[in-house]
């Protein structure tokens, strides 16, 4: 019987998906060169829950090389320990009051200090080595939406309305950035110690700053390159616009990998390398993203770098979801996309705190050891036992700190639509997934004409033969493989359909 191989090719929902090798669905999978790989689910590191919605997450590095994770909620700042979340909110001034409808915490580390800003609050800082609580950042800095470190300078950007530039009566606004004195995060007086401020004359409000030695000022309608000019007291930083009429929708929807800036614009994602703009979603996923993301929640689209060649844009699919429920995954090496369906309050690239394997006496975190009777023990090769291992972390719906290392998520991959027997109807008896799973289902979308609405079959289980008996007859076929959550598998390439002519339409 003739067999037709249909690959789960590159996921490109924006192009015509007829008789080609593109995939129409690739959910909860990582894109590979010629296959898709499973995305693990969120594994709680601790059952301790943040008492409020998480609106900021960051790992700060200590002098001994270990890392400490901090989180922000609307009213408090928190530090994670193996004993749970510890309140590290300022001790004077009362709780914070971050307006969650427009803002999240922004964090940046400068030396031993972690700086946290939100537009409603006086910038905060904490010495991660010695201090127990956050306190106001010295130097009388104005309130700001975003904090970032470029070289030896702390940058505050999108300065809150209603304040003044330190040392002056110049009012602050959302188009301004202010940088600290060189190597002095306690000085924000422009004109002193190379501290200065700039106001973007056009391009809209500043969303934030990204980058390392070469920085990017990201606005909602422009992007400017920011470069320190050592020894130049007149200029200090050169600022040149490199993108006009395009910028980032979200204060959190951009970031860099090496010196490449990735950002989510009104019409989809882009990559900016120096002044080279690359619309990485065009004719791939941009239209899909615009159609499948909540307009109201686009202010909160979050860019998340990972320790693998992937970046993630977490977003909300509709206005009724409180948290991120979907994510776009981009393999920047292969330039391929996929999606994930995972609910999380906040995402971040984190680094693990070590969990002590010692069983002598009671120690924080012992409840996570298998022999201590943990309900969710971590395997002995889990990254949790190593300090400082990078991982993609999140706060799940319940407020628990998690790593993306849990059981595989429910995966779905769908082929493009195919005329299996050109010019004729095709009868498909069996579908054999090219995937190392023995659990899963195949569903088939069929139609006679492109103008018809596709009819979707039941989910047919894989049988002992490794195939699913679908028994469909139509001119056009499209096959979807669904692999249940928790199933171990490694790669999925496509399906092999047994098809034969079934008369003319």
């Amino acid at each position: 019987m003739p067999k037709a191989t249909l690959q789960f090719g590159e996921w490109r929902p924006d192009v015509a998906l007829l008789d080609n090798q593109y995939a129409s669905i690739a959910d909860n999978v990582f894109p590979g060169l010629n296959c898709y790989k499973p995305v693990p689910g969120l594994q709680p590191i601790s059952n301790d829950m943040l008492p409020e919605r998480c609106i900021g997450l960051f790992s700060a590095r200590r002098l001994d090389g270990t890392w400490t994770t901090y989180a922000g909620t609307p009213h408090k700042l928190w530090k994670w320990t193996t004993a749970g979340w510890v309140n590290v909110t300022r001790t004077t001034g009362g709780d914070y009051n971050v307006p969650t409808e427009e803002e999240m915490w922004s964090f940046a580390q400068f030396g031993v200090h972690l700086i946290a800003v939100a537009v409603s609050e006086v910038p905060q800082w904490i010495n991660v080595e010695t201090e127990v609580n956050f306190s106001p950042l010295p130097g009388n800095p104005p309130k700001a939406h975003n904090v970032h470190v470029i070289g030896d300078f702390v940058f505050l950007s999108a300065l809150a309305l209603g304040g003044t530039i330190p040392g002056s009566s110049i009012p602050t606004n959302l188009r301004q950035i202010l940088w600290s004195g060189i190597n002095d995060p306690t000085n924000y007086t422009p004109g002193t110690g190379l501290s200065d401020y700039q106001e973007m004359p056009d391009g809209g409000i500043v969303k934030g700053i990204a980058g390392n030695e070469v920085g990017y000022i990201v606005q909602d309608r422009s992007i400017r390159l920011l470069q320190f000019l050592p020894g130049d007291i007149n200029t200090i930083f050169s600022i040149n616009r490199v993108v006009k009429d395009r910028g980032c929708m979200s204060e959190f929807g951009f970031g860099t990998v090496a010196d490449d800036l990735y950002f989510m614009s009104e019409d989809g994602p882009y990559k900016l390398s120096g002044n080279q703009l690359d619309p990485i979603g065009q004719e791939k996923i941009s239209e899909w993203f615009v159609a499948n993301s909540s307009v109201e929640a686009r202010l909160f689209i979050q860019f998340v770098p990972t320790n693998r060649p992937y970046i993630v844009f977490a977003f909300q699919s509709n206005g009724s979801t409180q948290f991120y429920d979907r994510a776009l995954i981009y393999n920047w090496l292969l330039q391929r996309w996929s999606t994930a369906t995972v609910a999380a309050q906040a995402w971040a690239q984190l680094s693990s705190s070590p969990l002590d394997l010692d069983t002598t006496g009671d120690e924080p975190g012992d409840e996570w050891l298998e022999w201590a009777g943990s309900p969710q023990p971590h395997s002995l090769d889990s990254l949790i036992y190593y300090g400082g291992r990078p991982f993609l972390g999140a706060i799940d719906e319940l407020g628990r700190l998690c790593s993306l290392t849990g059981p595989n998520l429910l995966a779905k991959m769908q082929t493009s639509e195919a005329h299996l027997v050109p010019g004729m109807r095709a009868y498909v008896s069996e579908v054999y997934p090219l995937c190392d799973t023995d659990l899963g289902t195949i569903s088939v979308e069929t139609r006679e004409r492109l103008g018809d609405a596709p009819a979707t079959s039941l989910d047919y289980p894989l049988e002992i033969t490794g195939s699913a008996s679908v028994l469909t007859s139509a001119r056009l076929h499209r096959f979807k493989l669904t692999i249940p959550a928790g199933e171990d598998w490694t790669r999925a390439e496509g399906v092999l359909a047994e098809a034969q002519p079934d008369g003319h339409a």
């Binding site: 130097g139 040392g167 002056s168 422009p190 004109g191 110690g193 200065d196 007149n234």
Partner: protein, 85 residues
Amino acid sequence: MRREHEIFDSDGGSLGHITLSQNQMKTLATGGLIAVRYHTPQLLRDVLGDRHGLFELKLDGEHITATDPGEVKRYIELLDAIEHA
């Protein structure tokens, strides 16, 4: 705007007040010398002119003293101008 730190010349005469950062005060407190570099903020140069300079400060007993009083005065003039710009 109140500036916290009074600066003196080597004879004990007051030069005026400036604001030093917490990091600069820590350096002074440990017996270190600090260099204060100043410039007219870029967006105020049209109004205030292009001024810049450098002076050093050290802690001399209870007084913060400057080795170049003229530069400190010019810096304070600039701070005043920025404040009123």
